[in-house]
């Protein structure tokens, strides 16, 4: 029952699997090589399946009544695509790996499709039958791949658009696009006898439109604040020295993950620092934090001057005998802005010679003491 072709490929599969086992056992157990070999095994297994299925392409096995030379050749795009793929590979080698990859994919796809098409065209003298066996063989691969590519293009394009436009415009586009999809869907549903070409062309045009705007948006880049946020790395900002960038999220408390876990807010107003602890209404000059647990403090600047909040969190030994102060800082923020500061204190207050404090550099005599029992 195994044809010579499938035997060859099955043999290769077995060989690749065996080699991968030996490779892992004897040469290198880091898996990289084995995975490559297993991919080869997968490929040859698939080819074995294909050759087994199509009986080495010898359709005429038993089909003795199919007259030779009665092949019905149909037009084919695959030679063209194969050429494009080949050119892509060459160009890609010179210019950009992505071009190379696309060329490779095109060449591989064209190779498989071309192979199967020419095989199927020799299957019989009946075009419909030939098309059907081609479809039966390739559609199980084509449909998922095309669906994946189609969806991927739409999602990717749409997300590029959403990243490029302003936040408010994004909401409007989202609502608008949703409404249009719903509307068109409703229209199609209400008119089930609509011409197929019309439906298809509407879908194709909108898909092309989305893809085109996606490309346009991607080349235009993300909106400024996202670029800034990316550069800023808001939550890991701990620098107390020179400010490296000027962008920041002006409303830290608006971030949902912070809203429920703010231990205290510290406010700078009229040159004075005051703190409010969660659940207590009155202002205070000392806050108590539990040790060994992340605490989040919000710093609000209500003064005209730019300011930052600095947390003094004790000392640490850098070398034997040399100690260094542990400081955490927010960024410099202007009036009406706020910043979050998250830190963890592992040792109680008594372990530190100087008390743990929150201060604003340049503002003398104002500090909030952090007590850690």
């Amino acid at each position: 029952m195994f044809t010579p072709g499938s035997k060859l490929f099955l043999g290769l599969t077995g060989f690749a699997v065996a080699v991968s086992v030996i490779y892992v056992a004897l040469v290198d157990n880091s898996m990289g090589g084995a995975v490559t070999l297993l991919f080869i095994a997968a490929g040859t297994a698939l080819l074995a399946g294909l050759t087994l299925f199509n009986r080495d392409g010898d359709v005429a096995v038993g089909a003795t009544d199919a007259p030779a030379g009665a092949e019905q050749l149909t037009a084919s795009l695959w030679p063209l695509i194969a050429t494009v793929g080949f050119v892509g590979i060459v160009v890609g080698l010179i210019t950009h790996p992505i071009v190379f990859l696309l060329g490779l994919i095109a060449l591989l796809a064209a190779g498989v499709e071309w192979l199967v098409q020419s095989w199927s065209e020799g299957a019989s003298s009946d075009n419909a039958y030939n098309a059907s066996i081609r479809g039966r063989l390739l559609q199980p691969i084509e449909f998922p791949v095309l669906a994946l590519v189609g969806l991927g293009v739409v999602i990717l394009s749409f997300s590029r658009v959403m990243l490029a436009v302003q936040r408010e415009a994004g909401a409007i586009i989202f609502i608008g696009a949703g409404a249009v999809v719903l509307l068109v869907g409703t229209l199609f549903a209400l008119k089930p006898n609509l011409k197929k070409t019309l439906v298809v062309s509407v879908c194709v045009i909108s898909a092309v439109g989305v893809a085109a705007s996606g490309i346009a948006a991607a080349s235009n880049g993300k909106r400024a604040e996202l670029v800034a946020a990316n550069a800023e790395d808001h939550f890991s900002h701990k620098d107390c020295g020179e400010e490296k960038n000027a962008h920041f999220d002006g409303t830290a408390q608006g971030t949902i993950s912070l809203r429920s876990s703010v231990d205290a807010t510290v406010e700078l107003r009229d040159g004075k620092l005051i703190a409010h602890e969660l659940g207590i209404d009155k202002a205070t000059q000392t806050i108590t934090l539990t040790k060994s647990n992340n605490a989040t403090i919000i710093f609000r600047n209500k003064d005209n001057k730019e300011a930052r909040l600095t947390a003094y969190l004790g000392t640490k030994a850098v070398q034997t005998g040399v100690v260094e102060e542990v400081l955490d800082c927010t960024q410099m923020i202007g009036k009406g802005h706020e910043q979050a500061l998250t830190f963890k204190i592992a040792k109680p207050s008594m372990a530190s010679v100087k008390p743990y404090t929150l201060t604003v550099p340049g503002l003398e005599g104002q500090s909030i003491e952090i007590m850690v029992p």
């Binding site: 993950s257 429920s260 231990d263 602890e277 539990t290 109680p348 008594m350 029992p373």
Partner: protein, 399 residues
């Protein structure tokens, strides 16, 4: 429904309610139906009518079903009318429960917001859960005599008649703080700080239990809230603010201090404890335990439980004396702490000998790869009996 059925229904409901109440335990420490504070009472005032309504409806349904079963049994009667229902009746039976529930809903709504209020807070305690015990930090609150933060664990002490706000969080997984006599539960979620109101009418010890499954020893994560009169509370605060004193030289306890410095201080802090060179001994639980914290033992003997409030530090007799005391005397008895005579030596020694055998914890040194070698819970320290004698002597000085 006829009067007769109504009377039967009423009778059965009454009987069922009595039977239900009679079948309950007396003085169960975690009974949810015996509120001892205003928040729990607010809940109770809401739930009692709801239970009554539910009970009556249940009995009515039961009676109607039983009536049908008896009355419409097949006695060879003719095939019944093939009726498909009476819409008016159906709609009525939809609207009636909707109205009842709408009524319940209004009161529920009000109560939910009432219990979420934080504006009337008189005192704050930071409550932190970790596997498998609770830590209580009292922020400095000068008007309550708390001049600097207090740290304790296992038992939380509050003054009576004071509206206390707990700020709950967790250092590892989700736990839930629950003292049924004082309020419903609130989860302690890592990365969040959540509030829970608590107050107690009378002095007493109120029991609770962690109620969010938190891993291996979830069952052994208990807690107690002790309400003291305002004077007793002040006395408790005054004691907690002091540091531990080193035992006199040449005593067993002094040797115990040495063992403590050698072993226990890796995780457990005792305020005032000094190393041989005179510098303060600072515990480093953050280097040894995954949660980064271990109970502060400065005033161990002022609490009467240990190991996540799962075992008593008081012997059985003494415990019964404190727990059974009236609300007038409980404060004094509690403040007396654990005397030498009252110390539950058996359990404490068992714990020191091999803690994870008593309370399941992740402390097998060979299985600590996922936590980078840190324990979850307390390991078996492999102490000799001699060391244990010394340690017990030292620990009992930590009043």
């Amino acid at each position: 429904m006829s009067t007769k059925i109504r009377r039967i229904t009423a009778g059965i409901s009454g009987l069922a309610a009595t039977a239900f109440l009679a079948s309950c335990a007396k003085n169960a420490p975690q009974d949810t139906w015996q509120p001892k504070g205003s928040n729990a009472r607010t809940i109770d005032n809401l739930q009692e009518p709801v239970f009554a309504i539910a009970g009556v409806i249940g009995v009515i349904v039961l009676c109607v079903v039983v009536y049908c079963v008896i009355k419409f049994r097949d006695r060879g009667q003719a095939m019944p009318e093939q009726t498909h229902g009476k819409p008016a009746l159906e709609i009525g039976m939809t609207i009636l429960p909707a109205l009842i529930l709408a009524g319940v809903g209004v009161f529920t709504f009000r109560t939910v917001f009432e219990l979420a209020k934080t504006s009337d807070t008189q005192m704050v305690v930071n409550v932190t859960g970790q596997q498998w015990w609770w830590e209580y930090d009292y922020p400095a609150q000068v008007e309550l005599g708390i001049t600097k933060p207090i740290i304790t664990s296992g038992q939380m002490i509050i003054p009576v008649g004071t509206k206390v706000l707990l700020r709950e969080t967790s250092r590892d997984v989700i736990h839930s703080y629950w003292i049924p006599a004082l309020n419903g539960k609130r989860d302690a979620v890592p990365g969040r700080v959540q509030t829970l109101r608590i107050d107690a009418d009378k002095p007493g010890i109120y029991a609770g239990q962690c109620t969010e499954f938190c891993g291996l020893s979830h069952a052994n994560m208990r807690m107690e809230t002790v309400a003291l009169s305002k004077e007793d509370f002040a006395a408790w605060v005054a004691n907690q603010l002091t540091d531990a004193k080193s035992p006199a030289d040449k005593t067993l306890a002094k040797e115990g201090e040495g063992v403590f410095l050698n072993q226990c201080v890796r995780c457990h802090q005792v305020n005032g404890l000094k190393k041989a060179d005179g510098t303060p001994a600072i515990a480093a639980p953050d280097e040894n335990v995954w949660a980064g914290a271990a109970p502060n033992l400065t005033h161990l003997m002022s609490r009467n439980t240990f190991a996540g409030a799962s075992w008593d530090l008081l012997s059985q007799k003494c415990r019964a004396d404190v727990w059974g005391a009236s609300s007038e005397t409980v404060g004094k008895k509690y403040l007396a702490g654990v005397s030498e005579a009252c110390l539950n030596q058996t359990d404490l020694r068992r714990w020191l000998r091999n803690a994870p055998a008593m309370k399941p914890m992740y402390s097998d040194p060979t299985k600590l790869t996922p936590t980078n070698g840190k324990y979850r819970g307390m390991p078996n320290l492999g102490l000799t009996e001699d060391d244990i004698d010394k340690l017990v002597a030292y620990l009992s000085t930590l009043k």
